[in-house]
């Protein structure tokens, strides 16, 4: 807000100074120019005939997708169980790895702010920047296709998520309780167990359940790159153009995701 002093001794109210006004216009102009430029570069090789044809294609695929092939259902019970295991075991593995990393990354519990903390933060950032599917792609080529690759992929991706939220929770704890416990002459591990852990326990449980719910979602597609679970059936159904099966698999995935979201919401309400 800028106030202008007029010659007759009165004030005039303006929303922004002229300089700020100009800057904001320039920023908008730059944004528009960048978008237009990116759009042109991106669509350079687009074949527009295919794009205009899309509604016809969509109608065609949609027509083939109904009705879902219910008789295929027994074939996806085992893959569904595998998918749940990938998500759950992957989350558990991630918890084991990310808890120590979170303590190393939190400013108030790390042994060294200058050396250990940046290292722990780097682990967290790298894990977060790479999607579970990419981890799965890599692990399948290293370990071979199967559930194991899926579990490790989910775990590697979740470390960053759990680690980041947990270390933020550790940094926000009430320092008075730590001080009180330290004042009794407690050792480092005792302070951890009686002053820090009880304070972050609800946050930790909430974060873990939340990530488990996300992992159910992610593990349903890991099979597309060969890492086990219901995604494998999706992949093979897509490859053989068995659209009624695709519909059934998508419905089952949707159902699983809705149920897991409901469970996680219930648990989080109960804890927090």
């Amino acid at each position: 807000m800028a106030v202008q002093h007029l010659a007759n001794g009165r004030f005039a109210w303006q929303r922004r100074t002229p300089k700020a006004e100009w800057l904001s216009w320039l920023a908008w102009l730059a944004g528009v120019a960048l978008t237009v430029f990116c759009w042109r570069v991106m669509t350079e090789n687009t074949i527009w005939d295919y794009v205009w044809d899309a509604p016809t294609q969509a109608a065609d695929i949609g027509g083939r997708m109904v009705p879902p092939r219910w008789s295929y259902f027994p074939n996806i019970i085992k893959p569904l169980w595998d998918t749940l295991n990938i998500a759950t075991l992957g989350t558990l593995l991630a918890v084991f790895i990310s808890v120590p990393i979170a303590f190393l990354a939190a400013r108030n519990t790390t042994p060294s702010v200058a050396f250990v903390r940046p290292l722990a933060i780097f682990v967290i950032v790298s894990s977060r920047s790479i999607n579970a599917i990419i981890w799965a792609l890599l692990l399948v080529s290293i370990l071979g296709p199967g559930i194991l690759a899926g579990i490790i992929a989910i775990a590697l991706r979740s470390i960053g998520f759990i680690g980041k939220l947990l270390y933020e929770a550790i940094e926000e704890i009430d320092a008075k309780q730590v001080e009180a416990i330290t004042a009794t002459g407690a050792s480092g591990p005792q302070t951890l167990a009686y002053a820090i852990v009880p304070q972050i326990m609800p946050a930790f449980a909430g974060i873990t359940v939340f990530r488990w719910d996300i992992n159910i979602r992610e593990s349903t597609v890991l099979g597309l790159v060969g890492a086990g679970g219901i995604g494998l059936n999706l992949e093979s159904s897509l490859n053989t153009l068995a659209w009624p099966q695709v519909t059934l698999i998508l419905l089952v995935i949707l159902g699983t995701v809705v149920v897991s979201e409901w469970i996680s919401a219930r648990i989080r309400h109960a804890i927090i």
């Binding site: 687009t46 969509a58 169980w81 295991n85 075991l89 999607n131 599917i133 290293i142 194991l148 326990m201």
Partner: protein, 267 residues
């Protein structure tokens, strides 16, 4: 007197008070773990084969090879970056009206339900599945990726924007209404100024996410750096794969850093 003989120690209260429930849950967890671990079927011969590849992948991080696939990497990065920018802009442009429509406190009920269901559909469909369908419809290339990411942005941004609008301070809306203004003036003077800083923050955050996702949709043919990464890994060229992953991590770190600076200045 027995208390003096047996010193009493304080124990923290258990998390779940009912012992039956507590031990039942532990037992259930143990049984589940046994069953779940039993289903992991590992082909150890294949794993031992793969360990060598794993070692090469880790070595690749120490000596990333940027030159072997440089042209592909540049092409993929250009696709990813342009896709990210355009899809974020398009996504925001669509999300704002939908987000406003999904805020319970400022729109009539029917509009609220329509917008909420659009958000629900966008959120429940996984990016990669949407990408598969869009590639089937519009052909391979970044345009399919653009559509996928724009679609995914709607669910994220509209939902958070709607929640934000529902949380605004009603006093200023009331003040604007009291001047006899219409719905649009109420929106632009009463609601938008309150949510603008958060909207900018969320958009920048989504820009980040869209870049990360652009690396994934390439795996199913929707353009971007993911396609290059997929080829590199399929051919076991782990040094090139490491180079691409390092680039992705680098860009994500830079964008996270800049967006946190911008967010601090705006808020």
């Amino acid at each position: 007197m027995s208390d003096a003989v047996r010193p009493r120690r304080w124990r923290p209260a258990p998390l779940i008070a009912n012992p039956w429930l507590r031990h039942g849950l532990t037992l259930g967890a143990v049984i589940y773990l046994a069953l779940a671990l039993g289903t992991i079927d590992v082909n150890w011969a294949r794993v031992i084969d793969g360990l060598d590849r794993g070692a090469r992948f880790i070595a690749g991080f120490l000596q990333p090879n940027f030159s072997a696939r440089w042209d592909d990497i540049v092409q993929g990065m250009i696709e990813s970056l342009t896709m990210t920018v355009t899809s974020t802009v398009a996504g925001i442009a669509i999300s704002i009206p939908i987000g406003i429509g999904a805020a319970r406190n400022i729109v009539p009920r029917p509009v609220y339900y329509v917008c909420r269901s659009i958000i629900a559909v966008s959120r429940s469909l996984q990016e990669i599945i949407v990408a598969i369908f869009l590639v089937a419809m519009v052909g391979f290339g970044p345009f399919a990726g653009f559509l996928t990411l724009s679609f995914a942005t709607i669910g994220f941004l509209s939902k958070l924007l709607a929640e934000d609008i529902e949380d605004i301070d009603p006093a200023s809306v009331e003040a604007i209404r009291a001047t006899g203004s219409g719905w649009f003036s109420m929106l632009s003077y009463g609601v938008l100024p309150q949510v603008m800083p958060r909207l900018i923050g969320l958009s920048l955050y989504r820009l980040d996410i869209n870049f990360r996702e652009s690396a994934v949709v390439g795996i199913v043919g929707a353009g971007g750096i993911g396609a290059t990464l997929n080829t590199a890994i399929d051919r076991y060229e782990f040094d090139s794969a490491a180079a691409i992953l390092l680039l992705i991590i680098g860009i994500v770190m830079v964008s996270e850093y800049t967006s946190s600076i911008i967010r601090k200045r705006v808020q």
